[in-house]
Amino acid sequence: MDFKSISQLKSLLDENKISIKEIAETYIKRIKEKKELNIFIYFNEDKIYEQVKEIEKLPNDKTLKGIPISVKDLFCTSNMPTTAASKILENFKPTYESFVTQKLIDQGSMFIGKTNLDEFAMGSATNTSYFGNTINPLSKNDNPLAPGGSSGGSAAAVAADLCLGATGTDTGGSIRQPASFCGVVGIKPTYGLCSRWGIAAFASSLDQAGVFSKNVTDASILLEEIAGHDQRDSTSSNVQIPSFSKNLNPSLEGKIVGIPKEYTVDGTSDEINGVWEEAIKSLEKKGAKIKYISLPHTKYALPTYYIIAPAEASSNLARYDGVKYGYRAKNPKSLDDMYEITRSEGFGKEVKRRILIGTYVLSAGYYDAYYLKAQKVRKLIANDFVQVFSDCDLILTPTAPSAAFPLNEKQNDPIKMYLNDIFTVPASLAGIPGISIPYGHDKQGLPLGIQLLGKHYNEQEILNAAFALEKDYE
């Protein structure tokens, strides 16, 4: 049986055409067949069947009752271990459930496993994981492709039909870019819309949870479930969460869509620019007004991000010291020995690189030149969006400068890898919502994503536009 969407599976369940146990069986079988893609860090049949029993007891009006969901292994879960794809969290079994996953559980979701990611979400190809690469399920023949990252496992799980929805986190593009690479929908809401409580932190001022799904309606359903105020997160917003899915409206009449000229960069393929062009035309046809705009500080977003994110990370990852949980080096001679060997053995190369960069830019004598400077440029980048949104409702851009690339490409040049996030990072710095939806393919048949950005807390606007564009492919 083929399950296309959450609403379709829901109606099959409601009509008793399938049982929750049968759903579990179907997905377990699929996951086993796709083992070689290395999508899951944690997968345990028994845990799934245990959940089935609990879920069956829930009332039928639970929105996600019986829906198979994958969870990025950065979310702490009490029923499954949590690793952040790092050796340093070896054997870590949280005694608590993250805000987001708890909300999904409350609505009857079936967690089918914890998905692979870049170690501590630091990467753009899901290739820095202690547990090995995830392979993009759209790879052909002998050319394994990267699923994007850092939430590559979650994007791949949805793309490979191993679940109907997945959680992700996006710090600089970690939901939108893998969504684009894997041909699925991925939304990063406004910073603060979903509580960060229980998500292992990478860069606190940027980290934001979001979801992957097979279509925009499902993304709306999932997002409205995981959003909401949480008193345990001081940066969580106390705003009313609309019913995104009920409000979905493909009409774009009178909407002004900004097209930023700075998002035409060297190295972006003609195919991507072509897809962008097509989407612009489609929006226009649907009644939107197109406006060519400028976000003058776009160019500086990546370097700004690569100062701020590592700086925060260097501090956030100081708690992984081998004392309270996780990996500890064997037989250290002193406390410092224990710290240094534990962290040296426990962290991978990219994480160490970022911790060291972050430590450097915060250190005495360099703070002003790097960190403070980056915070100021961040302000200018955020201001660019404020300006533009004073007379635009939406912004349309490509999601990434390329389609999925081969697994081991760019591995030896960090900056090349960082450039992957060139179109996603500005919105992260500004804290605005962004969604990526698949929109066309390149010559090799690989999906290409298009990104819609909106004003703070205006998720509905980008979901509506995405919903409209999605119809081009129905």
Binding site: N91, N238, E340, I341, K373
Partner: protein
């Protein structure tokens, strides 16, 4: 070149990460190119710009002074790689 091997090792010490000689050399190259690359921010005039630390526009929420978070010591120590007599244990520190 912003960094030399000594600086890398000093930073690594601050971050409590031990680097092999090879690793340090490798990182030196990467970090220098990253630092060179981020220096393009110097092109931007930020003279009268306030730094932005967090995008959130809300005000710092404050909680009531209630002692209600009750965890057992067992729960807190559960994941510790070394615990003894109800304490976390680490190699002996001489102050």
């Amino acid at each position: 070149m912003k960094l030399d091997i000594n600086t890398i090792n000093k930073i690594a010490k601050l971050a409590r990460i031990r680097l092999s000689e090879e690793e340090a050399k490798d990182l030196l190259k990467d970090m220098n190119s990253i630092l060179d690359w981020v220096e393009q921010l110097n092109e931007v005039n930020t003279d009268s710009v306030e730094p932005l630390a967090n995008i959130s526009s809300s005000i710092l929420p404050q909680r009531k002074d209630e002692a209600k978070d009750i965890n057992s010591a067992d729960e807190i120590l559960k994941n510790s790689p070394d615990k003894l007599e109800g304490y976390f244990a680490v190699p002996k520190v001489v102050e």
